[in-house]
C-alpha cells in the first residue's frame, strides 16, 4: 500500500484544518486569527487538489476550484485586514477582548 494515497492526503488536510481552528481559538490578536484562517484554507485547498488527482480522472475542476478559493482568500484578507486597520485606528488595540466590546468600555 503506497503512502501517497487519497486517504493520507485527506488526513493531512484535516490536520491542517484542525491546526488552523486551534489557532483561531488560541490567538488573541485579530491579524493572527486571520492568519490561522489562512492555514485552514490551505488544508481545504489541499483536499480539493487531492480529490482531483486521485478520483476525478482527466477533469481539472479541482484546480479551477482552487483558483476560485484563492480569489476568495485574497478578498477575505483584503477586507479583513482593512477592518483590522480601522479598528486599530479607532481603538489602538486589536486584541479579541477589546474588539468584543465594540465601543463599550470595560465598566459598561
Amino acid at each position: 500500500m503506497p503512502l501517497f494515497n487519497l486517504a493520507n492526503c485527506l488526513a493531512l488536510a484535516l490536520l491542517l484544518l484542525l491546526i488552523g481552528a486551534f489557532g483561531v481559538f488560541r490567538r488573541r490578536s485579530l491579524i493572527l486569527i486571520l492568519l490561522s484562517v489562512e492555514v485552514m484554507l490551505n488544508g481545504v485547498n489541499l483536499a480539493l487538489v487531492a480529490f482531483n488527482y486521485f478520483r476525478w480522472g482527466d477533469s481539472e475542476s479541482g484546480h479551477y476550484l482552487y483558483m476560485l478559493s484563492i480569489g476568495v482568500a485574497g478578498v477575505e484578507a483584503a477586507v479583513g485586514l482593512s477592518m483590522v486597520l480601522v479598528l486599530f485606528r479607532n481603538y489602538r488595540d486589536i486584541t479579541r477582548e477589546r474588539i468584543s466590546h465594540l465601543g463599550e468600555t470595560e465598566e459598561a
Binding site: I19, R28, Y53, Y64, S82
Partner: protein, 190 residues
C-alpha cells in the same frame, strides 16, 4: 519516479507542512508567524506538483505566498503590534486553557471514531483513477478548461465573476479605510 521515492517525498512534505503550520499557530512574534506561513506553502506546492498540478503549485507560491501573505506582512509592519520584545501584549495569557479544551477534545475524539475513521478506511480502499490527458494540470490545459468555447462554458462565467468579487472587496476596503473628516462626514463605523 520510483514509488518509494514518492512516498518519502510525500512523508517529508507532510511533516514539513504540519510542523510549520503548528509553528504559525504557536509562535509569539506576528512577523515570524507570517513568514512561517509563507515557508509552509513551499512543501504544499511540492505536494501539488506531485499531484500533477504544477500550475496550482506555482499559483500557491506566487499568488498566495507572494501577494496575499505580503498583504499580511504590510499590515503587521504598519500597525506594529509589538512594542516590546516582539510580543503582542497579553498574547502570553491563554484564553483557551487546557480545562476549557477538554470538552472540545472529547468531541473531536468522538467525531474521529464515528466519522473520520470510516471515511479514512473507505478512502484507503478506493482505487485511484488514472490520469491520461497529456499536459494535465498545465497552464495550457487549464486555459482550455476555462476559456474554450466561452459562449457555452460555465467555467468562463464563474471565473469572470471572481473579478466582480475582487471589485467588491476593493470597494469595501477603500470604504473602510476612508479617514474620518476626509469627506466632511464621520464614517468608518465599525
Amino acid at each position: 519516479m520510483p514509488p518509494l521515492l514518492i512516498d518519502i517525498l510525500f512523508a517529508a512534505a507532510a511533516i514539513g507542512v504540519l510542523v510549520l503550520s503548528l509553528a504559525v499557530v504557536l509562535v509569539k512574534n506576528p512577523v515570524r508567524a507570517t513568514l512561517l506561513l509563507i515557508a509552509s506553502f513551499l512543501p504544499v506546492a511540492l505536494l501539488y506538483i506531485m499531484m500533477q498540478a504544477p500550475f496550482v503549485g506555482i499559483l500557491q507560491i506566487l499568488v498566495y505566498g507572494g501577494a496575499i501573505m505580503m498583504l499580511f506582512t504590510f499590515v503587521i509592519m504598519m500597525i506594529n503590534p509589538a512594542p516590546k520584545g516582539g510580543e503582542i501584549p497579553g498574547e502570553a495569557a491563554k484564553p483557551f486553557g487546557p480545562v476549557r479544551m477538554i470538552p472540545w477534545l472529547l468531541l473531536l475524539i468522538a467525531a474521529g471514531f464515528t466519522i473520520i475513521l470510516p471515511v479514512y478506511r473507505a478512502a484507503k480502499t478506493l482505487a485511484p483513477v488514472a490520469v491520461s490527458k497529456p499536459g494535465f494540470g498545465s497552464l495550457a490545459s487549464l486555459a482550455d478548461l476555462l476559456f474554450k468555447d466561452p459562449m457555452n462554458n460555465p467555467f468562463t462565467v464563474s471565473f469572470e465573476l471572481i473579478s466582480f468579487l475582487i471589485l467588491v472587496g476593493i470597494i469595501a476596503a477603500l470604504n473602510f479605510s476612508r479617514r474620518r473628516g476626509a469627506t466632511g462626514k464621520s464614517d468608518a463605523v465599525v
